[in-house]
């Protein structure tokens, strides 16, 4: 049993760590996408990862600020959270394990910006600790 049955969307999915097959930390499940199928029954179709989604859930001043900074950092493409189709979820236990490697997904805009402008410029940034 790789996905708990019954699956509790709030308990099993929301706010769990998302990792790739090698254990690389991709993000948290910041929201879950639900779509109504042909038979009228809603199904879980994707997980959303990103501060925009988290900010919208937290709400208030801090939530709006989180969502706004996440949107502003996107230089290319559209400022939306990373959307991972549920078919790519391989396992749900203490983490949500995906069946694809993180290189195949859009990396976080904040991570790229900090890597290119701050951390990547410091000598030794390429050496493993």
């Amino acid at each position: 049993m790789k996905i708990p049955d019954p699956l509790r969307v709030d308990f099993h999915l929301l706010d769990r760590q998302v990792v790739d097959p090698d254990g690389y930390l991709i993000g948290k499940v910041d929201d879950v996408e639900v779509s109504v199928g042909e038979d009228g029954v809603p199904v879980v179709t994707a997980i959303h990862i990103g501060q925009h989604a988290l900010g919208n859930r937290i709400g208030g001043v801090i939530g709006r600020w989180l969502a706004a900074t996440a949107r502003r950092l996107h230089e290319t493409g559209d400022p939306r959270p990373l959307r991972v189709p549920f078919e790519l979820v391989h396992k749900v236990d203490s983490a949500v394990v995906l069946s694809v490697r993180h290189e195949l997904m859009d990396p976080s805009a904040l991570e790229i910006w900090l890597r290119d402008n701050v951390i990547g410029r410091i000598p030794g940034a390429r050496d493993a600790g």
Partner: protein
């Protein structure tokens, strides 16, 4: 044989790594004012950190999830965020205090004012976090921190009236000339020094960094159940020397060189050299732990890649948080705020932030989906619940006691 060596090394590291600036200050100050009348708090605190460090070590080893990951997962994004802000601030204050402690230790050795050493100390702390391998970093500063054993040696050398110290320890009452609020405030400070939140952030994240599995549970438990109590013994040594030397004279401890004074009196220059090394190692090691913990809390809340196992450029957000936290810690010290004062504030902050960190650990340590057959025993639960109640009381009492007693007056 190799395994025995590794385990011994781990325990020694845990002993040396237990004491930090908060323990040094809180124990010396209370020893000088109350003798051993608050020693029981150290014992209660050490048992508490053992109970919770064992739990989060087990959760990290079996499920691979560090503490702040669980905080958001169990408490949800809003309460988790409140907790994040509190825990981060407590860790940041502690980081600043530890950097100050490193600078003062160097001042004691060189007689050059500590404020000049603050930027250098902070830079070296950052370079070590940036470059040195996790295990190496842990071992070096943990082992060097063992030199604080000199406090126990000094205590024996001072030939204190043992009967009197023991008498104080077993009759924990407020002495004449002190009031309940002050006694309570220092009890909170000592308790928080033993259970600072960063210790569980660091312990569990360290377990994940060292790739603990079920096989490492024994090592984790030995570190906790032998290393931490022996570390607590060093704290009591600090308290005992202060109680022996300062209490009869009515001298109050207000700086780190006073903490070292009893050792110098008992053991001379050599003792002083060893104690300065001990201060340096203990505060430097703790600066590394708090610097990393500042990054761990934020990165784990948001689910970012963190830690020293990957190249820094692959964990850019984590390393940025660590870097910025160190810079803020330096800025706080450069306002010329007394590091001892920062330490005392960090302890109050820690006391307030504790319950929301320890609650999810206790809940998840009971969750079979996470731990399978390794869930808490009845004993662990009884102790866990008892301590959660104590922590809650301490958290509620911390700020009122601070105000009523005027930071202990």
């Amino acid at each position: 044989m190799k395994r025995v060596f590794a385990i011994t090394l781990g325990i020694l590291t845990a002993i040396g790594g237990f004491v930090d600036i908060g323990d040094l200050v809180a124990n010396a100050v209370t020893g000088a004012r109350f003798g051993m009348r608050l020693a029981w708090v150290v014992v209660v605190g050490v048992i508490g950190i053992c109970v919770y460090a064992e739990m989060c070590g087990r959760v990290a080893a079996v499920s691979g999830r560090p503490v702040f990951d669980l905080v958001r997962e169990r408490l949800g994004p809003r309460i988790g965020l409140t907790n994040l802000i509190g825990s981060y601030l407590a860790t940041l204050f502690t980081l600043s205090a530890e950097i100050g402690g490193v600078a003062i230790a160097v001042e004691l050795a060189t007689s050059v004012h500590y404020l000049l050493w603050v930027p250098i100390a902070a830079f070296v702390v950052w370079v070590v976090i940036w470059r040195v391998k996790f295990e190496m970093m842990e071992r070096i500063f943990g082992l060097a921190g063992l030199s604080l054993v000199v406090f126990v040696v000094a205590l024996i050398q001072l030939a204190p009236p043992w009967g009197q110290l023991a008498g104080q320890a077993v009759t924990p009452v407020v002495p004449a000339g002190e009031d309940w609020a002050t006694y309570g405030f220092f009890a909170v400070a000592l308790f928080a020094a033993a259970l600072t939140p960063y210790e569980v952030f660091f312990f569990s994240s360290g377990g994940v960094e060292e790739r603990w599995t079920r096989k490492d549970l024994v090592v984790s438990r030995l570190n906790v159940f032998i290393g931490f109590p022996l570390g607590g013994l060093l704290s009591l040594g600090v308290m005992g020397t202060a109680a022996t030397l300062f209490l009869p004279l009515g001298v109050r401890v207000e700086s780190l060189d006073q903490v070292a004074l009893p050792v110098a009196v008992a053991l001379g220059k050599l003792g002083l050299a060893v104690v300065i090394l001990g201060f340096f190692a203990a505060t430097f090691g703790a600066a590394l732990e708090t610097g990393l913990s500042a990054g761990y809390t934020i990165a784990q809340y948001f689910g970012w890649q963190w830690g020293k196992l990957v190249r820094p450029r692959e964990a850019a957000r984590f390393h940025t948080v660590v870097l910025v936290s160190i810079l803020i810690g330096v800025a706080m010290l450069l306002t010329t705020t007394d590091p001892i004062m920062i330490t005392e504030y960090s302890l109050v902050f820690s006391a307030v932030a504790l319950p929301l960190t320890y609650l999810p650990i206790l809940i998840v340590a009971n969750d079979r989906d996470y731990l399978g057959d390794q869930v808490n025993s009845r004993t662990a639960n009884a102790l866990g619940v008892t301590y959660l109640v104590i922590i809650l009381v301490v958290a509620v009492a911390a700020v009122p006691l601070m105000i009523i007693s005027g930071m202990g007056g």
